[in-house]
Every structure is written in C-alpha cells, then in structure tokens.
Symmetry: C2
Amino acid sequence: MAEASTSLRGNSLNYSSIRKLLPYAKKAIESGVKVIKLNIGDPDLKTPKQFIAALHDWNVDPIRYAQPAGEPELIASLLDYYHKCGYKELKTEDIIVTIGGSEALSMAMFAVADIDDEILVPEPFFANYSILAQQQGIKLIPIPTNIDNGFRLPSKAKIEKLINKRTKAILYSSPGNPTGTTYNKQEIEMLLQIAKEKGIYLVSDEVYREYIFSDDKHESLVPYMDEYPNNLIMLDSFSKRYNLCGARLGMLVTKSENIKDIVLRLANGRLSGGLIDQLMGSALKQVPNSHFKRSTKELKKRRDVVIKHLNSIKGVKTYIPDGAFYLMVELPVNDAEDFSKFLLEKFRVDNTTVMLAPGRGFYLTKNKGINEIRIAYVVNSEELIKAIDIIAKGLVAYSG
Amino acid sequence: MAEASTSLRGNSLNYSSIRKLLPYAKKAIESGVKVIKLNIGDPDLKTPKQFIAALHDWNVDPIRYAQPAGEPELIASLLDYYHKCGYKELKTEDIIVTIGGSEALSMAMFAVADIDDEILVPEPFFANYSILAQQQGIKLIPIPTNIDNGFRLPSKAKIEKLINKRTKAILYSSPGNPTGTTYNKQEIEMLLQIAKEKGIYLVSDEVYREYIFSDDKHESLVPYMDEYPNNLIMLDSFSKRYNLCGARLGMLVTKSENIKDIVLRLANGRLSGGLIDQLMGSALKQVPNSHFKRSTKELKKRRDVVIKHLNSIKGVKTYIPDGAFYLMVELPVNDAEDFSKFLLEKFRVDNTTVMLAPGRGFYLTKNKGINEIRIAYVVNSEELIKAIDIIAKGLVAYSG
C-alpha cells in the first residue's frame, strides 16, 4: 500500500506574487479591517452597459460549445474594432479567440518554444508570464530595465547579447504591466529589427492599448504583420479595456499560417471557450468610443494623484508612466514584501490598511525588485490618497 | 533577415479527430446539404431554465475576476449537489472549479506527471485526452479493451503488466466516452487496488455520472477519498449533465493537499475562470432532480433506437452501453474514416447526410479502431433513425 507521488514540475511551480499576500489580507478583512487593494489589476470602473444588456437579452438555448477558434459573430466585431484602430491589414482568419489573454499567451509560447527553449522578456514583467512559461518548460530570460529611466528598453546590442540558438522569441507588454511604460516607434522598430535579423518571434501583449496618457498613439505590431508574417504575434484581451476581467476573452492575432495551425490544434484540444462570454463580447461593436476616452481620462487623473502623493514621501522613487494603470515604486525599506505584510498584519489608519504587490514577484533576476512594489491604481482618487497616506505613515512606523 | 521557426511539439500535436472532418461537413452544408451531426457530444437537449434565468437577472458590475479556485457561491452549490449524490465526505476545500472538464484534466495530468512520465488509460478513450497529454509531454499508455465484450476492463494482472516506474496514474471515464461503458463496483475496486499497491494516482472522469440506463448506481471514486486521500482525483463538468457545453465549468475534486496546492498554483497562473459561467452555474441548486430523470429517459430511448436500427444493418457490430450518450460501432468497411468522408463528400439521401467521428481517433494503438466509428446520440429519435438509414444505404453505395 503506497501513496502516490506528485510531479516535480508541479511542486516547483511559482505562486502568483500578485496574490501571495491574499491570506494576510483575508485575515485582516475578517477581523473587520478595511483593506484598499492596489495589488491586482481588477479596475473598479463599470463594465459598459452594452455587455450586461447582452446577458439580459440572452436567447441561445442550449448553451452549446463555442467554435474552437471563436464564434464568428465575435470575430466579426473584433475585426471591425481592429479596423477602427487602423489595422486595415487584418482579416477574419488572423484572429483567434482564446480563454483570456492568459490562454493566448500560453498558446503563443507553446507554438514558438520547445522544452528548455528561451524567450526574452523586458524585466520587470507580469508575474504570470513566469508561471505560464514554467508550466511549459520554457525559460524566460530577462532583458534588464530599471526605474531610473522609467524602465525604457536597453540598446539593441545589449538585447542581442542575450540571444543564442535556444532563443525563440522576445515577449513584451506595451503599455507595460507592471511598469506602465509605453514603447515608442523607435523602440518597437528596434525589437522588430532584432526579430528579423535573428529569425525569432516578436510577441506583443497589447491589452492596455487604449490606455495611453500622452498624445502619442499606441505602437502596435499589427501594421508590420503583412511585411513580416512569420515573425509577429499580437496578444490581446477584453479584460482591462472593457472592465471585463471575469469574462475570459482573449485574442491571438497573427498572419503566420504555421502559428495559426498550431493554435487551432491547441484550441481543439480544450474544445471550446465560453459561449456566453463570446456572444456577450460581440456587443463590443455597440460600445461608443467615449467609453475609452472617459476611462483614460479617469486613469490619467489617478496616475497624477498617485505620483504627486508618492513624491511627497521621503525616500520613495518613482517615474511617470505613459499608459496602463500600474506603477513600480521604490520604497525606502530593505524588503518591500516584508513591509507589505507588515501593512496587512499590523498597520492601520482609521482601521484601514493597504494591499500591495511586492516588486520581487515581477523579477526573475535574483535580488532585483526587493525594495520595490507595484501599485495598480484601480480605485478612485480619494481612496488612492488615503492609501498613499497609509503607506507614508506605515513607512515611518515600520522603520521607526 | 530570417523568418522565425515554430516549436516541434506544436507541429507534432494531433488534430482533434472528433472535428477532423469539419471542413468536409462545412463544404456539404455550404452546398445546401443537411448534415446530421453525430460526431460531437453537444446534446440538443435544452439548458435548464434556471441557468438562463441567472443570465437574465445578472447584476454584478463590473464583471470582475472570479476567485482562482472558483466563486464561493458556486462551490457551495456544488457541495450541496455532491452531498445529495451521497458523497458526504466532501468539504468546501476539496472542490476546485476549472475552465471546463478539459482544464481539470490538464491540471490533474500536470500535477501527477513530469515530462515522459506515463499515464494508463483504457482504450478506446476520449480523443482529447491524447492532445492534452501530448501538450504536457506525458505519454498515454493504452489498456486494451474491445467491442466483443462491450469494452470491459481486462484482468488486474494484464493491467499491472503495463505499469513501470514512470507510470504515475490510471485515468478512466465511467460512464465512458467514447464507449458508454460503465464500470461496476468490482472494476472500480480492482483499479483502486492497483493504485494502492503500485503507489499511483487513480483519476476518474465522471462527467456522465447522471446518465446511467441500468438500475445500478454510479460508482464514484469520491466515497474512497477519505481512506485513500493521496491516490484519488475525480474530474467533473457541467457540460453534459446540464446541457451547458459552452459554459466552461469543470471541477477537480480531491482530498490530496499536495494536488490541491499544485492545482491552485496553476489556477493562479491563469488568474480566473469565467465569472459569468460560475455565478450562472450556482443556480444548479435550483435545478430539480426531474431534469436528470427526464434527460436520462430520453437518452435511454435514443440508445435503444440506435442499437435496434444498427443491428438491422448487415455486418455492423455493436453492444449495449449502460451510460453516457456514445456508442462505438464496428462497420463492414476497411477504413471507417474514409467511409465517413465519403458520406460527407458524396452520399446524400433526400439531400441529407451524416457526420460521424472516425474510431481510430479514440485509439493510440496503431491499426486499432480503423473500422469503427463513434456515434453520439445527441439528436432526437426521428433524426437518429434517418441518420442510421443513411449509414445503411451509404454502406451499400460505398461497398458497391
């Protein structure tokens, strides 16, 4: 009689750093403390009413499987959206609907990399990139960037030095999670140049496309796809753009026939995405452009509030990100994770505390990000001001 | 300037055999032919109205992330359902909600097996088991069964011969897809004995639990979980039970703390399942038991109709399955896939044809299942009679 063993890869899988402190937050909440959650990118803004109306009007019965690559009605709506974005080169067959951006990313990784292959990614990066790569036996290799210049990309030569025969792709997000840093045309074209010269894929995570606070337009990979069909994959999602995190609606966009073929096999393997999410998502064509304008205006206001108040705290270092709703912040502590735990476990102002995402979770390189946190400004300005006041007072108490 | 290469594993991934013939079906439909689809387990029965009502009453805004392991409201409803099934030993923390049964299966495989590890599975088996195992570098090892005795399990000694130090689990479905074969208590306890003696996991796919046509009750792994917490995983899904294939709602049920821990890390890696599906799924507590009774009665009627009409075709071999809504059928042809293509491409009765799932897709062993098909009896009796008449006439035309 013997108990069974579990897999080594299962037991070595990272925990999600964004949610690592959840048990502490839970305990605080259960004891009656109010916790302002700045740890996860789940914005408080409302879902456009057109989507909710699609649920209220639901009339498909039975709730059958969705098409493995996505319902035609949704793909038609997406094509219309992308054409309005100026991506006139996209056709119906270039868009594959996935179960959230997470699945789009998993599928893209699987399609380009075998076990022990490498994918470069500017660091810090979205913590879950690591978990998804680890699941597939793929090594993420960090391209170092840092807070002093707002996490801009290093030179072409520095990036090329990291490339070897196992390197299959460069993956990046812009506007970036966790930095909010938004690459300009020059940076995108530099990456494109590397991908072309080295014969690797460039995979862009563009889920924050609509949230840019400067007058520059978003630089997408899509306009380059006709010229370089077999080097480019764009990942996208409804979650952030339409405040629909819980609707698992992602997209993988490419002109590579080979990638499409592999992704379709993966899509068939899991049978179907969610029919309800997909048909609801088709309502995107009814969402007016004012939705993005309003959201972007609100997020910009929040960004400015956060930066202004952070800058008034002694020893805190930050920068001005151009997009998304995240910000990396260097704190005057040795260990920002320990400080974050301290806030949840021990520190309250008016019976309120703050939940942060420790910075180290966004780095693979050892000892980097240890004194940093990520702030997701997903609550209103008033709450943000309260939260930063708690951080400021918490820093004094923690160091004192 | 170089194009990028794609992964070897991506290019070697199997296509789903259930949907392999879709392009032929599409062509037939586009040319105005009616295609009766018996190839995929997407039943025509209606979704219980309690679920649709939950959509009509939707009031959560924004549509935020779901809890990674499932919304508490859904888990409470599931616990209530399982308790009614007689699984009194289950607790809230033993249930993890996944994105369909497919994800539950993927996660279970990942949790028990490393690259090149082996999982035994009675053959024929659900074709997508292969694709999901292949994605993870896991080898499925068939336990041979055959149509002559209705695909019952072979002896304990025969199964044990297939076990070596890389064997990590036995995976089975009962009632079975694609066979409808339903294991009795003796068979389940034999598998349990092997798992205990060899120190491996037993993973049961119980998604057809409610569809049993004999007077025997369904034999689940759950009642054994308290005694053998670290050998047992049960997989489940709403899809078939509630005609909710397009709601991606699966469950992984275990008492192994180690498995739960790994699965939770995987769940965190993809952030969330679908909130809409999950909150809608909570309405399961309002679905009366008569729903299952009605569905089972209808499916049993269909099974009997299918078998009666198949038995009247010369050279066709089948058996009487006890559950689910599938049936393997041996046809008097050399190549049942070629015959299935023939039906879609060339054969019509009253401008109607039939789409079947070729049997070989449910076998890994070379040259097995070549003259078999799987029939999913997912249309009403009248349509089934028509479909089998088309098969009968098609066989004459094909062989003539």
